[in-house]
Symmetry: C2
Subunit: 219 residues, 2 copies
Amino acid sequence: MNFSIAEENYIKNIYHLQQQSELVNTNSLAYELQTKPASVTDMLKKLQVKNLLDYEKYKGFRLSSKGNKVAINIVRRHRLWEFFLVTKLGFEWDKVHAIAEELEHVSNQELIQKLDRFLNHPQTDPHGDPIPDGNGKMPVIHQLSMADVVEKKKVIVSSVGNQSPAILELLNHYHINIGTEIKINQRFSFDGSIEIKVGKYAACIISELVAKNIFVYHD
Amino acid sequence: MNFSIAEENYIKNIYHLQQQSELVNTNSLAYELQTKPASVTDMLKKLQVKNLLDYEKYKGFRLSSKGNKVAINIVRRHRLWEFFLVTKLGFEWDKVHAIAEELEHVSNQELIQKLDRFLNHPQTDPHGDPIPDGNGKMPVIHQLSMADVVEKKKVIVSSVGNQSPAILELLNHYHINIGTEIKINQRFSFDGSIEIKVGKYAACIISELVAKNIFVYHD
DNA sequence: ATATTTTTTTAGATTTGTCTAAAAATTAAT
DNA sequence: ATTAATTTTTAGACAAATCTAAAAAAATAT
C-alpha cells in the first residue's frame, strides 16, 4: 500500500513521539509537524480509517501494528539515505537530515533494497541511530552518542559522526581517537557540556555539540 | 525559486515535447501527462503567471527562457539519478525511469552538485542522453542509440545500455562488441526492427529493443 | 463560404491537506 | 464540586490540482 507524503510525515512523527511516551497527544504532534491541532485531528481520522492508528477521541492515540510497520519502513529509508549522503556524497553529519526527509518518501522497495546492499547493510546512521533491516528488525546498537551517556561511566570511542577538519582538530587537542577510553565525570544541564577525563590527561570539558559527535561503546 | 511536483512535471514534459516541435499544444501535453486537456489549461495559466511560459490562448505555448532553465535543471537531476541507479545500485537500464521520476523532485542544489561529483561528472545517462552541467550546458554527444541512426549509415559501437547477461548473449550471437563497425541497411517501421550488416557476416535483423540498447558513434 | 470536426478553454464540482474560530470534553484549581 | 484553564474536536472556509460537461475558437471539409 502507498501513502501520501503528508500521511508518511504524520506516521513517522507519531512513531518518534511514541519512543518517549506510550500515548501521543494532538498538541505535541501538531508542534512536531509545525501545524495546527485541528489539522492533526483531521489527519488522525484518515489514518484510523486506514487502520494505521489506534485512536479514541480525546483519549490520545498510538500506531497500530500496521502503522508501526509503515513507520519503521520510513525510518529505514530515512537513515539509509542519511548514511549514503554522509559516506558517499561527503555531506557533513549535521546537514543531511533535511535532504533525507525528502528522499525518504521515494518508496520503491527495490530501490531501498539495492541502496542497502550498495552501502553494505549499515547498522547505524551518521547520528548513531540504528537502521532497521528489510523485515523491520532493529539491530541492537551498543554504540551511542556521548551526549547520551550517564555520568560516571567509562566508555570507549568507536566512531565520530562528523569528518570535518574542524572537529578532528578539536579531538586531537583533547587527545581523543578511536579506541580512546574516556570517563564521563559530570554533565552540566545549563548548556549540555560534559566534564570528561581522557586517559592520563587532566579532566576537561567538551561542549554538547562535540559530545553529540562522539560515539562510544560501553559494557 | 521552488516548484511543486505537479509544476515540475508539466515543465519537464513541455520541454521534452519542444524537442520535437517548436510550439506545444494542449492535447499532446495532456496525453503525455496522462491527464485531461482542461487540467492542462488550468496549469498553463499558473505557469504563465510565474513567467515560466510563453502562452497565448488557443495559440499553443512554449517555455520562456526562465522555464527552460528550470526544465534543464529537472532533466539534469533525472539523468544523474538514472546514471546513479544503473552504475552504482546495479539497476537494469530499462527499470530506472520511474524511480528517477521521483528522485528528480528532490531539488537540493548541494545534493545534485555532490551527486554529480560522486558520479564523476557523467556526460550521458544510461540511455545515451546528454546530462546538462550545473550551468545548464548540454554536452555535445556524438554517441547515439542505434534505434536513432538513419538508414545506410556506417557506425561504430561505443557502449551498451544494458549489462544483463541476456543482452550480452544476444550481442555475442550477432558478433557485436565495443568497436565493431556496423552498417544500418534498412529500418522496418512495422516493429522498428533494423537490418544491419556486421563486419564480414551476412546481413541480419535486430529488434528495436536491441537497437535501443546499442550506442554508437558516427562521423 | 458555410458546416462539421477538432481543439482549447471556461464553469463549476471534487479531493487532499490545510486553516481559523468556536464548541465540546478533559484536566486542574480553588 | 464548581469554576477555570487546557486540550481536542467540529464546522466551515480555502488553495492546489484535478475532473466532467458545456461553450468558444480554430482547423478542416464539402
